[in-house]
């Protein structure tokens, strides 16, 4: 292996306990430093794929490597260490609502914090400095004492990005990070994720369903349909025909600005 890939996925399959097959034989490589967009209709398996990568759910078939190390089958401290390398950003932000913004960001450091003191929400001063710095980067330096649920959706997602930054990861897994935000606010959040990719050199794998956003931010894209990988390419190659291939014959692009 000369150029180590950031994520390698081999023959990944997932059947949920109820019997729903969400992924089938997905093989995929995410290159170091790229911004990979994952497209697909809702229900096509995007969330399942992202969650299998950091093992929030256990895939039923196949193997996954993160930064050259196999995460499938990893346990305990080894699994946690690998999770630290891959921060996740969620559609619903998933902040701890009753904690302050600062504590939410500090929780990004849990993986490297001593257990006992972290359980009483106590973190060393240098972590506080890092957290404040992360909040300043997402433009919320003055809000660190607010309760997380006092913030607007866009601000909450920026706190979640600061939490991801706090983790000092090498990968970002983002699951429709702007889908529950006002369209007008989407770029303000996407630009922060783009900055992590461009300035920090973090590899980003991000599911999106807005074609405009994909062509604007992604360096490469893959598409899922019914749990299978149906398309791989760069945004420039994306056209009407691929659109129909991914979304089905009946689909219409919501706007034609993307093509």
């Amino acid at each position: 292996m000369t150029v180590e890939s950031a994520i390698r996925i081999e023959n990944l399959g997932m059947v949920y306990p109820g019997g729903v097959r969400a992924l089938e034989d997905v093989t995929l490589e995410v290159h170091t430093g790229e911004f990979l967009a994952v497209l697909g209709l809702s229900g096509s398996g995007k969330s399942t794929l992202l969650r299998c990568i950091n093992r929030l759910i256990d895939p039923t078939e196949g193997r996954v490597w993160i930064l050259g190390e196999e995460i499938t089958g990893a346990k305990g401290g080894r699994l946690r260490n690998m999770r630290r390398q891959a921060a996740m950003i969620f559609q619903q932000f998933n902040l701890v609502k009753r904690h302050t913004v600062l504590t939410n960001v500090l929780s990004g450091a849990l993986g490297r914090s001593p257990l006992a003191s972290s359980l009483v929400l106590s973190f060393p001063p240098e972590e506080h400095e890092r957290a404040i710095a992360a909040l300043e980067r997402v433009g919320l330096g003055d809000r660190f004492t607010s309760r997380a649920d006092a913030l607007s959706g866009g601000q909450q997602q920026r706190v979640a990005i600061a939490r991801a930054l706090m983790q000092e990861p090498r990968l970002i897994l983002a699951d429709e990070p702007v889908a529950s935000l006002d369209p007008a606010l989407r770029h303000s959040v996407m630009r922060h994720i783009e900055a992590l990719n461009r300035d920090e050199g973090m590899t980003v794998m991000c599911s999106l369903h807005d074609i405009d956003l994909v062509t604007r931010y992604a360096t490469r894209m893959v598409a899922l349909r019914d749990g299978r990988l149906v398309w791989e390419g760069v945004p420039d190659e994306f056209d009407q025909r691929t659109f129909k291939e991914i979304y089905g014959e009946d689909a219409q692009p919501a706007s034609n600005t993307g093509f």
């Binding site: 999770r83 609502k97 450091a109 849990l110 359980l119």
Partner: protein
């Protein structure tokens, strides 16, 4: 493909047989009870007299019933009904387990055997219930005189026990408080293994869940009054026994409430914390605890409120608190003093209720 289909067919057949068995069992129980009620009513109206020459009492009749025959008869009838369900229509058990078949759905209840059976069953239940519990409307309406003494006493509370009552009221409140406070940490720890959503993943977790649930269901099934009797013979009469009794019961009740709360949390923050590489204790601390603290507090205050009420009853059997001096006054018919104590209790309960409602409002 072949063996898989086979397994599917066998599973379906197995499920059908299980459903038949369940339906017949339900019917057997219902029909058995019906036979017993019919026998009871026949005996009650037959005019039979006991050895003393008086009409048989309800208890004597209950003693005479042929339980084994009723069980056998019920089972036989249930088997027949389920065997001939095409001619007789679905039995209650069958309708319950497998649903009503389409052709029966439009029928009125008077057009089905099941409907008539249900109606008769309900009639019989009320009829025999009336006799067994010896309801007597006439006495209820005409013999109020004696009770009026009590009501008069309650309306004219005597000052004689006011001092003692107030002292024991303080004891009651603290008794309830200590029981609740000591129950919190135990219930808090037990609530996590008792929550289904946290205990699905590993075998140890599932075993812990089963153990915790079984133990708590058992403890909760035993009334606080019974716990009081147990602890009185353990540590002697007095408030300490009352604290222990309420403590045990509160642990079980709070564990159930807490774990239900844990089961209904938003799993999003849990996932987010786990994704940072946090350990499972950290996931609990950050992803679960902040979500459940406010409802936990609210349940706990409510529990304290309940414990104040319960400690009165516990006191009746010797578990300390105000109930302890209430009992002898009831026995002696000192209604004025009983009135004072009842008013003290009612006032406290009302106050606790108002305060706990206010606090809970603020927390959630």
């Amino acid at each position: 493909m072949g063996p898989k289909d086979d397994r599917g067919v066998r599973a379906a057949a197995w499920e059908r047989n299980l459903a038949r068995l369940q339906a017949t069992a339900v019917d057997a129980v219902l029909l058995g009870i019906t036979l017993l009620m019919v026998e009871f009513l026949v005996l009650a109206f037959s005019g039979r007299r006991g050895p003393t020459g008086l009409l048989l009492s309800a208890e004597q009749i209950l003693d005479l019933l042929h339980y084994a025959w009723a069980a056998g008869g019920g089972l036989a009838l249930a088997l027949l009904w389920n065997l001939f369900h095409r001619q007789l229509g679905s039995s209650l058990g069958r309708a319950w387990v497998r649903g009503v078949p389409d052709w029966e759905a439009p029928l009125e209840w008077t057009q089905t055997l099941r409907g008539w059976f249900t109606a008769i069953f309900i009639e019989l239940t009320f009829f025999s219930g009336w006799l067994i519990t010896e309801l007597d409307l006439l006495t209820f309406l005409t013999k109020f005189g004696k009770a009026a003494d009590i009501v008069r006493g309650l309306m004219h509370p005597s000052g004689a026990v006011l001092h003692e009552g107030l002292v024991l009221l303080v004891q009651t409140i603290f008794l309830a408080f200590m029981a609740t406070a000591f129950a919190i940490p135990v219930a808090f720890v037990l609530a996590f293994p008792s929550a289904r959503n946290l205990t699905r993943n590993t075998l140890t977790a599932r075993i812990a869940y089963t153990l915790a649930r079984t133990l708590m269901n058992f403890v909760r099934a035993v009334e606080p009054l019974v716990w009081a009797l147990i602890f009185i013979s353990w540590v002697g009469i007095g408030p300490f026994a009352g604290v222990l009794a309420l403590w045990v019961h509160s642990v079980a009740a709070l564990t159930k409430l807490y774990s239900e709360q844990i089961e209904s949390i938003d799993t999003g923050p849990m996932e987010a914390i786990a994704a940072t590489g946090a350990s499972s204790l950290q996931v609990l601390r950050f992803g679960v605890v902040p979500q459940v603290i406010p409802p936990f507090l609210s349940f706990t205050i409510y529990r304290w409120d309940i414990n104040v009420r319960m400690s009165t009853i516990i006191g009746f059997v010797g578990g300390g608190g105000i109930g302890y001096i209430l009992k002898p006054r009831v026995d002696l018919g000192e209604w004025g003093e009983v009135g004072t104590l009842v008013l003290l209790i009612a006032g406290t309960v009302w106050l606790m209720d108002v305060i706990s409602a206010k606090i809970r409002e603020r927390i959630v």
